[in-house]
Amino acid sequence: MDKNCAIETIDLTKRYKGKDKPTLDGLSLKIPYGSLFGLLAPNGAGKTTAINIICGLRRFDHGEVYVAGYSTKKELNRIKPLLGLVPQELALFPSLTARENLMIFGGLYGMRGLILRKRVDDLLELFDLTSSKDTVINHFSGGMKRRINLIAGMLHSPEILILDEPTVGVDAQSRKLILDKLVEINKEGTTILFISHYLEEAESICNEVALMDNGKIICEGKPEELYRVYECGQNLESLYLLITGKKMRDYHE
């Protein structure tokens, strides 16, 4: 176990029942403390399975997973308060208001009373949602829902924040706001694992990236170093297509 890593997976293997190939095939990944780490991969490469395992939502067949130095197998209860997850789906209660949603999630993170109320109000203000705090989520636009989804994951100021496609389906204004805030909280010390299909987003905010395919890491490092090593120009898209190929990656769940 590397003590400098916020998240570390060692030779992680996971095969679902009825599948020929393992979804994760010896995934070894190191995400240093303080980094804004981009994990990029084509569809079906195993990203969501990896995130679910890191968060303790799925079992795995082989390997080790450490979050903040704790094993997910043995010390999940220690990991949970340190971790914030912003899932790809809008994991909110649609018939409740923005404020009610955030109060519930904050309460489940162990926050209480005035501290919780102030934190909720501050984040609603920060993400420009104060005027809509008492509106039910069902009536929100896609961008507003994404922002609430993000706030719900970072309410308790986690040491490590995992974001799975946090900007899917949002307008340019909401996207910029979300990305700016991520950079800001990363500078304040939060380690961020950022997963996205939008390569230009990862390029603009991530200080380290890893490319994943067929359940394992193909390459990882600082973007500039990777461009140099692979001699593929100065953008992640060229690097990504060079490494993962141009063949379609349709798959069945």
Binding site: L83, P87, Q88, P94, S95, L96, E100, G107, L108
Partner: protein, 423 residues
């Protein structure tokens, strides 16, 4: 505990915002209990008030003809006709009328029956007092009774034994009168035949009760507990639906990444839906006691043991919630859970005696009904409402419901732990 507070807050809010679900859980059973109580009450009354159509041709102007006629009217079980289209029928016409199912029974009392019986009886008694055998020359008096051949033999036997009983009673009274007359001729002190009249043996038929209260089961006493049980079990749809919705929209997974355990998640659901079930039950009881009498139905007698009532209602809620949580965990989609949940609850209700009371079911169906948790509940509530039973009497039913609920909880937790973590 404080995390549980936020889970409870969440589940209560979600429930309150689900107007359609609330209507389904509270309004539907209220409408059902009122409607079914009224329907079954009128049906039972019509069955109770139905009379047997009889064609009575009494050609005997004497006492016996009158006595038989008045007995037939007095019983109240016959709808008596004495003519067909205004004309007194012959024996032949009477037979045809019964054969064509216009009447279930046709009774023909021939002319001078009274006189012939009197003559026969006088001859018998006189011969008896003179020590003479009278079997020779005995001519019995015939009543002709025609019975619709399509009627059940048990019904025919009942009717015939009733008629025989009435005829023998009348014959006995004549014999006694004749004996009295003969005795009075011989005795210096006259005796009255009234001394021999009256029934010396009376058979009393009463419903069996644990504590002797004279409660007769009625449609309210059946329908209120039956539809309360149905309503409590119907929360399965809302409960399993809420579990699946949270799983589908990702909020369930999000909660599990928080310092909140799966058991806390389930306990919160169980507490909220127990409150719902107990509220449903209280509302149904209040309707049975206060509202149904306004519809001309009897008021529900709640028995003498509130504790037994609460225990049984809680056990039912526990069973229903366990079942709902099991469906919510095993079903993959909301559609699966709502279709399976609704169908299984309706089947449980049907075989458990909610729609049709158990005493109207065949022996086979009664045996099958033992499998339904709703049957256990209904049996317990019958004990409380009809027999004034206490906690001890409903313990077996409560235990069965609690075990069923616990089994469902275990299946849900095991399934979640074993399979969901790998899906």
């Amino acid at each position: 505990m404080s995390k549980l507070k936020y889970l409870l807050y969440k589940d209560l809010l979600l429930l309150v915002r689900d107007i359609a679900g609330l209507l389904l859980m509270f309004l539907m059973p209220v409408l059902l209990v009122i409607l079914m109580s009224l329907l079954q009450n009128s049906t039972l009354n019509s069955v109770r008030d139905a009379k047997v159509p009889i064609l009575l041709v009494n050609r005997d102007p004497g006492e016996l003809g009158k006595a038989v006629e008045s007995e037939i009217y007095r019983t109240g079980i016959f709808e008596v006709s004495e003519d067909i289209d205004g004309e007194v029928p012959s024996l032949n016409q009477l037979e045809k009328a019964v054969a064509s199912s216009k009447f279930v029974l046709g009774l023909y009392i021939p002319e001078n029956t009274t006189e012939e019986i009197k003559l026969n009886v006088a001859k018998y008694v006189s011969a008896a007092f003179n020590g003479v055998e009278t079997t020779s020359g005995h001519i019995p008096v015939d009543f002709t009774v025609y019975i619709d051949p399509t009627t059940k033999s048990s019904f025919n036997s009942t009717i015939m034994s009733t008629l025989r009983e009435r005829a023998q009673k009348i014959q006995f009274e004549y014999i006694m009168k004749e004996i009295t007359k003969q005795v009075n001729l011989l005795s210096p002190i006259p005796i009255s035949s009234n001394s021999f009249s009256g029934d010396q043996v009376r058979i009393q038929i009463k419903s069996a009760h644990l504590e002797g209260n004279d409660i007769v089961p009625n449609s309210v006493q059946h329908n209120v507990p039956a539809w309360s049980l149905f309503a409590i079990f119907f929360i399965v749809i809302s409960l399993s639906g809420s579990i699946i919705k949270e799983r589908e929209d990702g909020s369930f997974s999000r909660m599990l990444t928080m310092p909140c355990s799966y058991s806390e998640y389930l306990i919160s659901k169980a507490i909220v839906y127990t409150i719902v079930a107990m509220l449903q039950f209280a509302i149904m009881l209040l309707i049975g006691v206060y509202l149904l009498p306004y519809f001309g139905l009897e008021s529900l007698n709640l028995g003498n043991s509130p504790l037994a009532l609460i225990l049984l209602a809680f056990s039912t809620a526990f069973a229903a919630i366990g079942y709902g949580i099991a469906i919510g965990n095993i079903a993959r989609t909301y559609q699966q859970s709502s279709v399976f949940g609704a169908m299984s609850v309706v089947i449980m209700a049907a075989i458990g005696g909610v729609w049709i009371p158990l005493f109207l079911m065949s022996e086979t169906m009664r045996a099958i009904s033992l499998l339904s948790p709703m049957h256990w509940g209904i049996s317990g509530f019958y004990d409380i409402f009809l027999k004034d039973a206490g906690v001890l009497a409903v313990l077996p039913e409560s235990a069965a419901l609690l075990i069923f609920g616990a089994l469902c909880f275990t299946i849900a937790v095991t399934y979640n732990h074993k399979y969901r973590m790998d899906i």
